[in-house]
């Protein structure tokens, strides 16, 4: 009887732990919304908020109806089955949120939401089946603890395909090839979004241990959370120092991207590194993300929030450095995993976006882009009383 009670309690504790972590990951949806709302111009703010709450909702319902069954044909967790679903469903929403920022300020709302259905029902779950679902990539020995590649690179790959087909915002790159700044309209929202993501990430990485009720699990989770925090802090500092050296200014939006880069980088393996190693990974991630954003801009790949750099480039970096601290991983297998995930998601996404482009269209007209998506898709301004025409 005792033993059974103890089992019940462990079951309950594990369930609760997963639910708390899942709720934190859900909260990340607010983080993406605020971050993106802060980094677009005022005239596109209502639309991006609409897009974010809609994509979260659609991802949840689609994954419930289809995606989860594709990814985990036979889940049998040692805790409440619903808790398992809950923790999984918020991850697909995260992947989709990544896309939304990269295509901001020029994509048709409804086309975006159709893509969201396909990603949640099919593209994400299939690669999820190959990895966390115990499929082929998992069998190779691929290690991606909380999803640097499985979630973040997936989102970024879909975003990259979209951005290539969509083209840059008008006015972003001038005819002489120079880059024109289109400053985000609300820095406090961008900072708030980053803090929300940082906070939510404790659920993202901390929850991915999937079990709490033993000393080893508890230690692993605690380590994951310390490393998550440390890597983010180091990424922040790296971007701060780097932009200060480069431009003599502490570029806030780059620093926010640095923090997120630190978070993405440690996500593939937050348990095995020592905290000092986590800080090194985060620091390097903070440098990479700044360089990557500059490089993509040079290539005229217009990503208003830096999502492709933060989640894609740094996601790959995070996945590839796993073997440094985790002896169970090998560099070549990590590389193979990254390549497979990127290839699959990018190819599928490219096809879907192309179909959408050729049918309903993915881009608003130049005139609509000029007046702003708020008026076009939502009919209401975000700040009707205090914006001026810019």
């Amino acid at each position: 009887m005792e033993a059974q009670d103890l089992q019940q309690l462990t079951f309950a504790l594990d369930t609760f732990y997963l639910l708390v972590c899942g709720a934190l990951v859900m909260w990340m949806a607010a983080g993406f919304s605020m971050l993106e709302a802060g980094l677009v111009r005022a005239k596109n703010t209502t639309e991006i908020l609409t897009k974010n709450i809609a994509l979260y909702s659609i991802a949840c319902i689609t994954y419930l109806a289809i995606g989860y069954k594709v990814m985990y044909p036979d889940p049998s967790p040692a805790y409440a089955a619903d808790a398992n679903f809950f923790f999984q469903v918020v991850f697909v929403a995260t992947a989709m949120s990544i896309v939304s920022g990269a295509v901001a300020e020029r994509m048709k709302l409804m086309s975006f939401l159709v893509f969201c259905v396909v990603l949640s029902a099919f593209i994400y779950p299939v690669q999820g089946l190959w990895t966390w679902g115990g499929g082929m990539i998992a069998n190779w020995g691929f290690v991606d603890f909380a999803g640097s590649s499985i979630v973040h690179l997936t989102g970024a790959s879909a975003a990259l395909a979209a951005v290539i087909l969509l083209g840059p915002r008008s006015g972003k790159y001038l005819s002489d090839g120079s880059i024109n700044a289109l400053p985000g309209s609300n820095m406090p929202l961008a900072a708030l979004g980053t803090f929300i993501l940082w906070f939510g990430w404790f659920g993202f990485n901390g929850g991915s241990q999937l079990a709490l009720g033993s000393v080893d699990d508890a230690n692993a989770i605690a380590r994951a959370m310390v490393n998550t925090n440390t890597s983010a802090a180091a990424g922040t500092i790296a971007a701060l120092l780097f932009t200060k050296l480069l431009w003599k200014k502490a570029d806030l939006t780059m620093i926010l991207n640095g923090a997120l880069a630190g978070l993405v980088a440690i996500t593939a393996q937050p348990v095995t590194p020592e905290p000092w190693q986590a800080s090194v990974f985060g620091f390097v991630a903070g440098l990479i993300v700044v360089l990557s954003i500059i490089a993509l801009d040079k290539l005229h790949i217009d990503d208003p929030v830096g999502a492709i750099s933060v989640h894609g480039v740094v996601g790959i970096f995070g996945t590839l450095v796993v073997p440094i601290t985790d002896s169970s991983a090998s560099f070549m297998i990590q590389l193979a995993g990254v390549a497979t995930i990127f290839g699959w998601v990018f190819a599928c996404s490219f096809i879907i976006w192309t179909i959408l482009k050729l049918t309903v269209g993915i881009r608003v007209t130049k005139e609509q882009e000029y007046v702003g998506l708020d008026q076009v898709d939502c009919g209401v301004e975000a700040y009707p009383e205090f914006t001026s025409q810019k």
């Binding site: 000029y370 007046v371 008026q375 009919g379 209401v380 301004e381 001026s388 025409q389 810019k390």
Partner: protein
């Protein structure tokens, strides 16, 4: 001296400024205004209630200039602000009697 007041579409501001500087103007003042005219506004929608936004964003340029530059200025502003669509705006010319540069105390043409 004249005071030229032009109401233009906001996104033409940079072009008009450029054009004026090319013909030797060295200063001007810009105000964000809203205009009604032949150009129709648009309808916004808030919680099911439609409402008409009649006042459209325009930029007002104020430029003090000597009489001899007026002709040229009218031309270049007209050209630079032109799209051919309704709502391109208007240019008004008012007489200007006197002008002072605060920094130096110079007056009239020297102050422009």
């Amino acid at each position: 001296m004249k005071m030229l007041v032009a109401l233009i579409k906001p996104f033409k501001l940079e072009d008009v400024k450029q054009a004026l500087f090319e013909i030797g103007c060295s200063g001007l003042t810009v105000t964000e205004v809203r205009g009604v005219g032949r150009q129709k506004g648009h309808t916004e929608l808030y919680r099911g209630a439609e409402y008409q936004v009649d006042f459209l964003p325009k930029m007002k340029i104020e430029l003090a200039l000597p009489d001899e530059t007026l002709e040229r200025a009218l031309e270049v502003v007209s050209a630079a602000a032109h799209t051919g669509n309704i709502g391109d705006g208007k240019i008004f010319v008012l007489p200007l009697e006197h002008c002072v540069r605060i920094r130096t105390g110079e007056t009239d043409k020297d102050a422009l």
